[in-house]
Symmetry: C2
């Protein structure tokens, strides 16, 4: 009995809860691991509270910048800090466009207003930035600078792409999202597929969130260890515990896995 067809917003919410509850995902909050200030229930509540913004995106009510801003505001009602900001950067255009080709059209036609709205959203999160490398989100003159330079939200993502793999998805046609969805399909149904796809992406490229937090060496070593887990040379549970202990949480890969789950669900992948 599968009576109700999934809407795009349903798929986005299911993607968020399936990602966070999958276990073991090295270093990240999952069914069996919390961080002190960000816990499983913060991610679950964030998935629920995002609903109005996800529905608005499904109906393309507003530009991507304003919709990302709305999603951040919807989900700010908890004390767990940033939970899904990176995921929203990917999900909002995917919801607006439906699929990857549609989302690519959406991100290609963003405006300066989208960039300004995005910066307003950014300023309300606790997202890690590299000092000196980016326009300072806490500096009101940054918004004036965006306007005077005529930068669109796509331009901002282009600017961030070398240092941020989520921004890079906007530029390269959601390449890692597509790979993630393919890994999910290849791994079969259920939660184990989420773990396998997570390890697959983690072993492909260094997580840029880990680079920002711990530097490129730690990120590269984490990638190599993920590869060893996939090759059967390293124990997954031990790797997970090591990452948790060192607070190495590959948050950008998690964001991309959420986008990949959204795509896979739309392509008929069976989650249970």
């Amino acid at each position: 009995m599968r009576m109700r067809p999934l809407t795009r917003a349903d798929r986005a919410q299911l993607a968020m809860i399936l990602e966070v509850s999958a276990y073991p995902k090295p270093g990240n909050v999952d069914r069996c691991h919390d961080y002190e200030t960000t816990r499983l229930e913060h991610f679950l509540a964030s998935a629920i509270l995002a609903r109005p913004a996800l529905e608005a995106a499904e109906r393309s009510e507003g530009g991507p910048g304003a919709l990302i801003h709305q999603a951040v505001e919807c989900t700010s009602g908890h004390r767990g800090g940033n939970t899904h900001f990176g995921a929203f950067i990917l999900l909002i255009p995917l919801l607006m466009g439906g699929d990857i080709p549609g989302a690519t059209r959406v991100v290609g036609s963003t405006t300066v207003d989208d960039a300004v709205e995005f910066y307003r959203a950014f300023g309300k999160t606790e997202v890690r930035v590299i000092q000196g490398h980016e326009l300072d989100v806490h500096d009101p003159s940054s918004i004036m600078e965006i306007r005077s330079r005529g930068m669109t939200l796509y331009d901002l993502m282009l600017f961030s792409a070398p240092r941020d793999m989520v921004a890079r998805e906007w530029i390269n046609g959601f390449e890692m999202t597509r790979r993630g969805a393919d890994l999910i399909h290849a791994a079969g149904s259920g939660q184990q597929a989420v773990v396998e796809a997570f390890l697959g992406l983690l072993s492909l490229e260094p997580d840029t969130f880990v680079i920002k937090k711990h530097g490129p060496d730690v990120a590269s070593k984490t990638m190599e260890k993920a590869r060893e887990v996939r090759e059967g040379l390293r124990d997954l549970q031990a790797f997970d515990q090591e990452c948790i202990d060192k607070k190495i949480n590959p948050g950008s890969i998690a964001d991309i896995i959420i986008a990949a789950l959204y795509i896979a669900l739309g392509e008929g992948w069976e989650w249970d």
Copy 2:
């Protein structure tokens, strides 16, 4: 930053995810325990997929019977069997009426059509019934009998109340729901409060779902053991494991805890 006020539907969904992720809840699916065919993600997905029915209930679009039926249909898109049927029986009138006095008015003015709709919903779940004690939900003549007897949904609940503590809530003014909310408030904020309230209700009355599945002796012993845990005479984790091993899952208490969380959230209880 708590920018978006919670709607009633938000509170109902938050209640569902907070209940199922709280750990350790003796015998039930929780963050650390699945049953073979019903897993954490089935409960989480059910909370998300229920949204349209919860919103319709918040707007009182239809009678309680039709809205419970809608909630069951919304959440039938997974293979985990019955997840939230008992919770919907409580949440739907609470969403329609807002609070316990409002819900008491809603349940007091149900109709024969509500009863018929409820039976249609019942027939689509895999809910445990006591043979011979109840109108058979798989027998189409039961619906004719409801009509010929002129039974309202309230009458059906009155009929079931001696053997079903969820139905009893409709009759006694949501007494256990109120107690559960008081226990949650008394236990402070966060997930630990959910566990304490669960143990509190479990030690008060035998769970009628456990009675239907394992008989009254097992249900009474489970109640006594919960009391011993509260008094520090028994280890919670060991009690949880014992229940899991014997498949003693107090599902009716879980349904009432969801209703209690909905009430507590509306009264300002802080979940995180």
